[in-house]
């Protein structure tokens, strides 16, 4: 309380000081949070502000070293499917233009290019010295014609440091049943979905018009990954899987509603080339700490599977829908956050009739490149209230994460299109 009062007291001085203060400060200027931290609940010392209201379904986002924010929309608006937000002196930003007439999810900035994905393709846009898109209407088509089925359409993307692009191709099925999501329908033997989906595909980051078959199926048995990031410390890919839905709806005799709302865990995997995480044959039980045989494939809620499939490196409550993963490398936040992971939990729907959960950004502490200890709820109350969380009628749903040049954390919301920024001021 004391610190925030102090911060507000300082605010007029900062505004008046203007450019002079910029020049004096060795680090970036302080950004003042909005009153009430824009409705978010944060640990002590942190503040939040609304950077901009985009009015679009803001999926993933990227922030350039100059503070320009690029936001990928799930559905293009009149301005386009990618919005350009230019920073202002207050730490907020203004939507100045847009381009790309396609919806999608992926947005990633690296090596002088802005990468963007539709639900079928991956594009990249050359950036100039100030990280501005050179030809908004003429992107390179890096990957074309990715598998797109009836669900799990997001093609999330990330690059490593060796010129490779990783793309999620979500399974076009819940659990590979003969009849998707139908009560009692069993799993298809040798699930054919895995041939073209349910995994991460690797491509050349500078390739042109690569077809899916020209890429490598880098990891399989991952139902749907929306949040993924490259861990530079481990030089390894980490992904967040959306676990399967509807154990009770499909197998009511084996799972009651409460159990079904708690199974399976949302899992974090550290992935190496060739790994198999086991979807649709298994799911992860967070209470038993075991991989369980899926009921579609002969499981009964009790049979565990010990071999063959990789274990998650961390597990989170069921159905919370991790939509973004970000390894924090900044110096603005206290030391404990460095090289740890932020996870945006979009919020559940498949816990009904039990109360819904999520709608927050979590922090997962890391040590030596591995999760270390339990996660913490970092930024909460995107929903607006406990009642809105429980009903699932959330005001905002965190979907994308990006780190600003000063180390602040940007969070996008694909419900109202609000872009939040979380800063540490101590």
């Amino acid at each position: 309380m004391k610190t925030s009062a102090l911060r507000y007291a300082l605010l007029p001085a900062v505004l008046a000081g203007g450019a002079a203060l910029f020049a004096l400060a060795p680090a970036a200027p302080r950004v003042a949070p909005d009153p009430g931290n824009a409705g978010l609940k944060l640990p002590a010392g942190f503040g939040a502000l609304v950077v901009a209201e985009t009015g679009g379904k803001a999926r993933h986002l990227a922030v350039s070293p100059e503070g320009t924010v690029y936001v990928k929309l799930n559905k293009p608006t009149a301005q386009g499917g990618i919005l350009v937000l230019k920073p202002t002196a207050t730490g907020k930003a203004t939507v100045t233009s847009g381009f790309g007439n396609y919806g999608g999810t992926g947005m990633y900035l690296k090596n002088g290019y802005l990468y963007a994905s539709s639900d079928k393709d991956v594009y990249r846009y050359k950036l100039d010295a100030k990280n501005q898109v050179v030809s908004p209407s003429q992107p390179e088509l890096v990957v074309a014609g990715l598998k797109l089925g009836q669900e799990h359409e997001s093609k999330s993307i990330v690059l490593d440091d060796a010129g490779n692009l990783y793309v999620n191709v979500g399974a076009y099925s819940n659990s590979c049943q003969v009849k998707d999501r139908e009560k009692g329908s069993m799993g298809i033997a040798n699930c054919p979905v895995l041939d073209s989906a349910g995994g991460i595909w690797q491509f050349k980051a500078d390739g042109q018009r690569q077809r899916q078959a020209q890429g490598t199926r880098y990891a399989t048995g991952l139902r749907n990954v929306v949040g993924l990031d490259w861990n530079a410390k481990d030089n390894q890919l980490f992904v967040m899987q959306h676990g399967r839905d509807q154990l009770h709806d499909i197998f009511p005799a084996m799972y009651d509603e409460k159990t079904s709302s708690q199974l399976p865990a949302e899992c974090m995997y550290a992935v190496k080339g060739g790994d198999n995480a086991g979807w649709p044959y298994i799911y992860y039980d967070p209470a038993k700490h075991e991989k369980m045989l899926a009921p579609e494939y002969g499981g009964d809620g009790k049979k565990a599977v010990t071999d063959k499939y990789i274990n998650p490196v961390a597990a989170y409550p069921a159905h919370m829908a991790p939509n973004a993963l970000l390894f924090y490398t900044g110096t603005m936040f206290p030391a404990k956050y460095r090289n740890g992971a932020f996870i945006a939990f979009h919020g559940s729907w498949n816990r009904a009739p039990e109360p819904q959960m999520g709608y927050f950004v979590a922090f997962q502490p890391f040590k030596d490149g591995k999760p270390n200890g339990p996660y913490e709820v970092f930024a909460d109350n995107f929903s607006g209230s406990a009642a809105k969380t429980a009903s699932g009628r959330a005001d905002h749903r965190p979907c994308g994460l990006a780190q600003g040049p000063d180390g602040s954390l940007y969070v996008s919301d694909d419900s109202k299109g609000t872009i939040f920024r979380i800063v540490y001021n101590k």
Binding site: Q150, K183, D249, S391, R393
Partner: protein
């Protein structure tokens, strides 16, 4: 079966009668209080049965308030499918639905599985319930109508 055919029969009678024995206390008071409205309004017992089916088989996707889940499962609030043609609506339950059509200006990425395991009476009850809940008001769907739609095969 006995219970459901009874409900089907009571539905046909609802316009004329005050539902003898069809339900608990509600059935005795409601029709008396609003004798005129009873002509179009489905019987409370039928709605209660429909609600049970809804909770068991629809709520996990379309949610308790019928509002659906953004981008995933559509709302059932005043949509043209819910309020419109009864055979089309019934077929959504019988065959499932994955057309990715625009519903009130949005599209939804999940799939609606077939619910052909439901009895004619359960379908009539749940559809009548949906058409008269979440702010909707539309005529009941009878067991005979469900039967006819299912017999037609498509």
């Amino acid at each position: 079966m006995i219970r459901s055919s009874l409900l089907g029969a009571s539905l046909l009678l609802v316009a004329a009668l005050a539902l003898p024995g069809a339900g608990p206390a509600g059935a005795q008071t409601k029709p008396k209080a609003k004798p005129k409205a009873a002509a179009g309004a489905p019987a409370p017992a039928l709605l209660a049965q429909g609600k049970q089916v809804y909770i068991q088989y629809c709520l996990s996707c379309h949610q308790a308030d019928g509002g659906g889940v953004q981008n995933m499962n559509p709302p059932l609030t005043k949509t043209e499918y819910v309020l419109g043609d009864k055979a089309r609506l019934t077929n959504i339950l019988v065959h499932g639905f994955a057309e990715k059509v625009e519903i009130q200006g949005e599209t939804y990425r999940n799939v609606m599985p077939a619910h052909d395991f439901l009895t004619d009476a359960q379908m009539a009850a749940v559809l009548t319930y949906v058409r008269n809940s979440f702010g909707n008001k539309a005529s009941a769907i009878s067991v005979a109508e469900v039967k006819a739609t299912r017999a037609a095969g498509k």
